[in-house]
């Protein structure tokens, strides 16, 4: 079991390294660089100085090496090119928690709501809850978050003045953005949960459970839900990453000081350090959620648990042979 987990963690770091390095090379390969505009009219020597200050005069591979060296020795992601004197990790530490809060709340509420709607739809197939679920799922898929954001802003803030239009402060500022964030996961998970539950409910072992005389509630709780969790959990990792990306639009619509604005600005101004730093953060979030999903498999599905155990045994039995 420990071996399985260690293996996953090592993979996680490997993926992180490859993705970040690739982004690093790619963003540096785009024509134009962040300093061109600033240094255009400066004398040659000053210009070279500028480039040297950020290490941009070195070959790309050297720059990449320096990037990792700086990160591994000092834990720093480098100095921003657009905001001289400020380190990229400062932005992350300061603004990422806001984006994450928004994303996590949206995900948690959206997934739970979507799953409940989906289960309800599946259990009352071709009845009102089913049609309602389908309707919500369709709306959620069709309406982009920014359209919904504009609508709720008009309705809840302009017309009824129940919530502040935009800004950041207490919990009250939180409600509308999170509401907009939940729409997409509600739709996705409602649809997905419905088809998964319908699939499981037609399995033979549900009939076995019924033949034991168990009441419907217990069958759904014990036999149906557990078996639907696997595919749902698999979808969670991409959802986490997707929601963080999606929160950028919501952030800008509701003027929330999250990472979103900085990310867009960083790309537009070719702020290499910031782009790589943000990408680092998202990749890390993604691979980390994949790791969590892998670990959740262990909890949910005994077949995966057993496989993990057998791997260890196989490796253990190989060792004496090699000696």
């Amino acid at each position: 079991m420990a071996r399985y987990i260690i293996k996953r963690i090592l993979y996680m770091f490997l993926v992180l390294f490859i993705v970040v390095s690739t982004t690093f090379i790619m963003i540096h390969s785009i024509p134009g660089d962040p300093l061109t505009a600033t240094v255009e009219n400066l004398p040659e020597a000053t210009r070279l100085n500028y480039y040297a200050r950020y290490g941009l005069d070195k070959p790309l591979m050297v720059q990449l090496f320096r990037f990792w060296k700086l990160f591994l020795t000092e834990g720093s992601l480098g100095e921003s090119l657009k905001y001289p004197g400020r380190m990229a990790e400062e932005f992350i530490v300061k603004y990422a928690p806001i984006s994450f809060q928004l994303g996590i709340w949206g995900l948690v509420i959206g997934v739970s709501l979507g799953m409940m709607l989906g289960i309800n739809a599946a259990l009352h197939k071709n009845k009102l809850p089913d049609y309602f679920g389908t309707f919500v799922a369709l709306l959620g898929t069709c309406i982009p978050a920014f359209v919904l954001a504009a609508l709720v802003q008009y309705f809840f803030t302009v017309k009824h003045k129940w919530f502040p239009t935009a800004g950041w402060g207490g919990a009250i500022y939180f409600v509308l953005p999170v509401l907009c964030m939940t729409l997409s996961p509600v739709a996705t998970y409602c649809r997905y949960m419905k088809s998964t539950v319908l699939d499981v409910i037609n399995q033979d072992y549900i009939l076995t459970a019924e033949s034991k005389g168990l009441p419907r509630g217990l069958i759904i709780w014990r036999h149906v839900l557990r078996n639907t969790l696997m595919p749902i959990v698999t979808m969670l990792a991409p959802s986490v990453a997707g929601l963080l990306g999606g929160s950028f639009i919501i952030e800008s619509m509701f003027a929330i000081p999250g990472l979103g604005t900085y990310f867009v600005k960083a790309i537009n101004s070719r702020d290499y350090t910031m782009v790589v730093a943000m990408n680092f953060l998202f990749t890390a979030t993604y691979v980390f959620s994949l790791l969590v999903v892998d670990l959740l498999y262990l909890v949910i599905d005994p077949r995966v648990r057993l496989e993990a155990k057998q791997n260890r045994r196989a490796v253990a039995s190989n060792v004496p042979n090699e000696n």
């Binding site: 399995q203 033949s211 005389g213 419907r216 077949r303």
Partner: protein, 340 residues
Amino acid sequence: MSEHLLEVKDLAVSFSSYAGKIRAVRGVSFHLDAGETLAIVGESGCGKTVTVKALMKLYGNSAAFIEEGSSILFKNEEVVTMDRKQLSKLRGEGIGMIFQDPMTSLNPTLTVGYQIAEGIRFHDKSVSKEEAYKRAAELLALVGIPSPEERIKQYPHQLSGGMRQRVMIAIAIACDADIIICDEPTTALDVTIQAQVLELLNELKEKTNKAFILVTHDLGIVFDFADRIQVMYAGVILERGTKYELFDEPHHPYTWALLNSVPSKQSQRKGTLYSIQGTPPDLMMDIKGCPFADRCVYCMPICKERMPEETPLSETHSVCCWLEHSMAPKVKAPAAGGEE
């Protein structure tokens, strides 16, 4: 009032579908006493499984329903009108069921022990968790699974097909049901395992006073296991009798054909296996006469017009066929073994 453990009268089960109503079971009546074994045989889709599932109103997610006028008396209680609570008690405590495919009939995410113990604990709330698991282990030992204490902690995928079917049997008998329904219990197993599972079922039959209903299309296992046999076709029972009566002097052309379809030494030597021509009737249609008429070699004009009455031949043996009528030509059953 019925003196039988189970008495089924005019049971009709239909499925509603977009294309119309599928009348899978079209009025069957039979009874069952404690300690005896009834076999229901017939080809695929003739309503065997639907009939036995109706006995505990077990339709899962399908659109099946029991038609009005049907009656199922279990210990003098009407099953058809039972509510959920009564059904819960009936299932497991009154009637247990063994399903066809042990590979898919056990929940892959729960331990074998849990799946046996949950029924025990649900039906008898006074049983503690430990006791229930202890009973589960005893049951596993009873159905012939070695080292049951370890097995109860295992998951279905760690057991072989034969063992899983033994677990299914343990689940069916866990709450001491009076009737055990075996729905093609050996169809999904390979031949050697089939023999072992049948042996186990036979042992259970001898040890306990349970009644068994065996649903199968395998006539080979019927003779070893059953006391009485009823032959079903297109939702009706065409012939019924003790196993000796049915095997030694079958009266219905369909029973003849079924018996002839069993591979024998003769048919092996000739290299051909007898099979019944044609296909069973469409169950969405109304069938006016005998449902087998279209495929019957001895079909007479009356056969397509009216369903024959059940003609008793002995106290236990009866048949639904116009050939039994005094005006019908005397037809002799073809000798078994496909020598037509």
